[in-house]
């Protein structure tokens, strides 16, 4: 047993660290959720999950729009730069 532990010391240390991180993350999430819960208790017939856990940002639409714009910009810039590099190679080949 001791031999196994000594040989896998690094693995155990890693597992210990990961477990610690997960534990602290879980506690942080629970703390956040508890602090964000509305104080009044909703009736059983009218449970609104979005009210209970208001996790969706009002800026989600803006983030999605930003993602679309950045995707188009990235694609266009990459295409242009690669074309420019290709043209430069052709030009240099021709002059060589």
């Amino acid at each position: 047993m001791i031999y196994i532990i000594r040989n896998n010391e690094n693995v155990f240390i890693c597992i210990y660290i990961i477990t610690g991180i997960l534990q602290s993350s879980k506690e942080a999430i629970e703390h956040k959720v508890n602090t964000r819960k509305p104080k009044r208790t909703p009736s059983k017939n009218n449970i609104n999950m979005s009210e209970e856990f208001p996790m969706r940002s009002p800026r989600l639409t803006q983030w999605v729009a930003f993602l679309i714009f950045s995707t188009i910009t990235m694609g266009a810039a990459s295409e242009l730069v690669s074309n420019s590099a290709g043209n430069k190679m052709v030009f240099l080949d021709y002059h060589d």
Binding site: A28, I29, K32, V33, F53, M55, R56, S57, P58, R59, L60, Q62, W63, V64, A65, F66, L67, F69, S70, T71, I72, T73, M74, G75, A76, A77, S78, L80, V81, S84, N87, K88, V90, F91, D93, Y94
Partner: protein, 296 residues
């Protein structure tokens, strides 16, 4: 085929290579633009994906991480727009400043606007700082003056960029073209200084002297009438569709909005004064009538 392509497009390629990259500096800028856009894409994708899980959204929605990301993305996007719309880098605009790659040009500006709105929305939601509301309610026309300040800076910068590309060095354009470009630089600087003064005074004291504001508005409007005439005409530096064209017209419309708003305020003040004068005269008549009634 390659030889034919090279033979036919030799001059075009030479000019493109000359202006497109400007050596190592242009290459570095192009690489930087692509790197910035890739970083933005990765960060934005991560944020959007994190939004869809309640567990991960806790770490992003309304937190300091989101705020830091907004600020970081805004800074990245400023550099992207600057590089992409610079004709010396050969990305979205050609050597004349004409939009060559519409997707890159318009969507980089759209991303910039989006990063600004994201930052403003975050500030409003988390710190309850309502910047647009503050600007609207702080003082009349502050939003117009702020807009004119921003557009004038772009007009001046774009004109300076064109001036350094075409009015210096080996390839010098005609004298009229360079004079118009110089006029663009001067126009941008003068109107930016006037706008900066009014914005500063309005922020410091919540109201600027009306006569100064009206005089500056009129001067800006007159200057931009000549500006759109000289800069965006067919022989002007802003004739191709690009930053200079769009922002010169935008500045013209903003200065028109300013002078119209000042005129409206002046008319309102005139009407109020006339009404007050009428009110101050009417009681005298009433007393006389009452006196006449008593005598009768």
């Amino acid at each position: 085929m390659i030889y034919f392509f090279c033979f036919k497009s030799d001059d075009v390629l030479q000019s493109r290579l000359n202006r497109g990259t400007e050596g190592a500096r242009g290459d570095t800028n192009q690489t930087w633009a692509v790197t910035c856009s890739v970083i933005t894409f990765i960060l934005t994708l991560t944020v959007v994906v994190m939004h869809f899980s309640p567990i991960s959204s806790v770490f992003i929605v309304g937190t300091k991480i989101e705020g830091a990301l907004c600020v970081f993305l805004f800074a990245l996007w400023v550099s992207i727009v600057t590089i992409v719309s610079d004709s010396r880098n050969g990305l979205a605009v050609d050597d004349q400043g004409t939009v060559e790659n519409a997707n890159l040009y318009y969507f980089s500006w759209a991303g910039f606007v989006c990063s600004v709105t994201l930052s403003v929305s975050y500030l409003k939601a988390v710190f309850e700082i309502d910047i647009p509301g503050e600007i609207r309610t702080r003082s009349a026309r502050l939003n117009l003056w702020s807009g004119l300040l921003a557009t004038s800076i772009v007009v001046s910068g774009s004109s300076g960029n064109i001036f350094s590309s075409f009015c210096r060095g080996d390839f010098v354009e005609s004298a009229a073209y360079c004079h118009r470009t110089s006029f663009g630089i001067a126009l941008g600087i003068i109107t930016a200084i006037m706008a900066l003064y009014v914005v500063g005074v309005k922020i410091m004291t919540t109201r600027a002297p009306f006569m100064v504001e009206a005089a500056f508005s009129l001067l800006c409007f007159v200057l931009y009438i000549f500006g759109v005439g000289f800069i965006t005409s067919s022989f002007g530096p802003g004739s191709p569709l690009g930053n200079l064209y769009y922002f010169t017209w935008l500045s013209f419309f903003l200065s028109f909005g300013l002078i119209a708003s000042c005129y409206e305020d002046y008319q309102n003040a005139k009407n109020v004064t006339a009404q007050q004068n009428a009110d101050s005269i009417e009681p005298a008549h009433d007393i006389q009538i009452e006196g006449l009634d008593a005598q009768m």
